[in-house]
Subunit: 322 residues, 2 copies
């Protein structure tokens, strides 16, 4: 019997819960929801950072703690919901050093301040590895929240920024090649000090012109496939949004820039679909918004036609247990 992958594990878990009354947002959406009233849902998201798998060499404990919060914030951003409060569950190897705890506290506090949410409680435990599990809580009007499954044919497919920085940055951190740290500081920063697109996500949701949205933490290709699959549509791309420094880095290291941009992970941009007549207006509010393709009626998955050449966009991305 083959051992299950992360996505198979999630399938086994959710299969066990199918006898429950249905949930308002699917288990595969970025956040979960509890209906409170007709006009208000409570939005919850948990995201766990694990030292041995999620913290690359060269990343400080303070940066890891900040990033743990950011991963949760990014999912709220994708739905256009402001996170109000955070709960912090910690696992720390014993003995826990005072300075380590202080660094964790600083990283958590820093992220909370950056995104104007409050840490209201948590749980502290002894564990074999560093574990930082962040639960975020917020409120949303179900009519404003942007789901994964709302993309419609002719919608514009757009992203909030260029891709590939974290996969390139991760290679730099792992290789420890000093010259790359000097030449490509923005790639290293993308891994160590990422940014969540919260303001952008809220603006996109408020417009009521964003028909679907997902954060790209499992990679651009995977995010596009998720929208296509949930919305039962196809996605046709006319460009792959590769960051300029990633082009240079890829060229220098004989890597495929498209590969770095499509199949990275922990890249906290938003991948969205927008009503065609609203794109230009939205672009003025969210200047980083970049059109990369269109939604098609036919369910062919994701296809890309780049300068007349067909590029395959596979349904793969970052996952544990593989």
């Amino acid at each position: 019997m083959k051992d299950p992958t992360e996505r198979e594990i999630i399938q086994i878990l959710t299969n066990q819960y199918i006898d429950q009354p249905s949930v308002p947002l699917g288990f595969d959406d970025d956040v979960s929801a509890i209906p409170f009233s007709r006009k208000t849902w409570i939005i919850v998201k948990t995201d766990m950072l694990v030292g041995s798998t999620d913290v690359p060499p060269g990343m400080t404990v303070q940066e890891a703690a900040r990033k743990a919060v950011l991963a949760t914030i990014s999912d709220f951003a994708a739905k256009g919901v402001k996170p109000q409060a955070l709960m912090v569950s910690l696992g720390l190897p014993a003995p826990a050093k005072k300075t380590t705890v202080q660094d964790i506290a600083r990283g958590l506090g820093q992220a909370a301040r950056e995104y104007h949410c409050k840490i209201i409680g948590g749980d502290t435990n002894q564990a074999d590895d560093l574990i930082i599990d962040i639960a975020g809580v917020g409120f949303a009007d179900p009519k404003t929240l942007v789901r994964r499954d709302g993309a419609r044919p002719e919608d514009i497919v757009a992203v909030t920024g260029p891709f590939g920085r974290t996969s390139a940055g991760l290679r730099i951190l792992i290789s420890k090649r000093e010259i790359d740290f000097v030449k490509y500081p923005s790639l290293v920063k993308a891994v160590r000090r990422p940014t969540a697109r919260l303001a952008e996500g809220i603006a996109l949701a408020k417009s009521h012109a964003t028909t679907s949205s997902i954060d790209s933490s499992d990679g651009l290709a995977w995010s596009l496939h998720q929208i296509a699959q949930s919305s039962k549509v196809g996605i046709s791309l006319h460009t792959i949004p590769v960051a300029t420094e990633v082009e240079s880095f890829a060229k220098e290291h004989r890597l495929s820039a498209l590969e770095l941009a499509l199949y990275g992970g922990e890249e906290y941009e938003l991948v969205v679909t927008i009503k065609p007549q609203s794109f230009n207006k939205l672009k003025r509010r969210v200047p980083s918004l970049k059109k990369i393709g269109t939604v098609e009626k036919k369910r062919f998955g994701v296809a890309a036609q780049i300068r007349g050449k067909q590029v395959t966009v596979e349904a793969r991305g970052w996952q544990h247990f593989t």
Copy 2:
């Protein structure tokens, strides 16, 4: 520099957050709260179970998963709040076996059904150890929610059941002495299949006669000290509520039954204070309720006078990193 204990770690963390606007419930209460309206607070609690420290030998993965949920439910019980929804963050060692994942799913689903709450989402990760972090979410009227700091002089101190079963049961599981498994099944069950006092907690809160409440997951002595300290009162006990089987087990193994009852942990009873005139009426609604002492004006901590003999109740209990 001495390495910090669990409580010192929590202090370091919360000190970092003091620049934040104040929280409606203290960081030391059982749950955290987000005010939504004058009449409604959103209640959140996270509790992390770690395989290497929280799962004794002889406990199955399914039991561990059920217990992880139960620990969170118990904190809701102490505040008299019904948990509505659960988020499950998992860390699993790779490769994850399908049967292990199924057992975890079964344990989680079982607990959710027992306490009528719904699993609405989560996060799955690869980790070096089994991690099950449960976030619970519910709604409460702030006037009904029972805090830790409301005990007043002359209130009755009561518990929802007898103590010592989990500390005795844990000894049986660790020693693996077969005869004890046969003689003391209720002690083993207390560890492997504990119960949360959710119905009792809700009834106690609804009465508006319960002035303070805490769950006893860090031990009876610690819980009493927490109420005394938060409420700025003393607590005087006339009895230590030891379970009958714990008396027998302690006698047979030459252990102190009082020690087992006072300084255990992961025992999910409620420790409460009740307005004196309301105790008998409440006792009819919550039959397991047992009076063990009274609240005193003087802040002397916790003292016990058992059959004319002074028994010291120290401010210690279960904590990590010691």
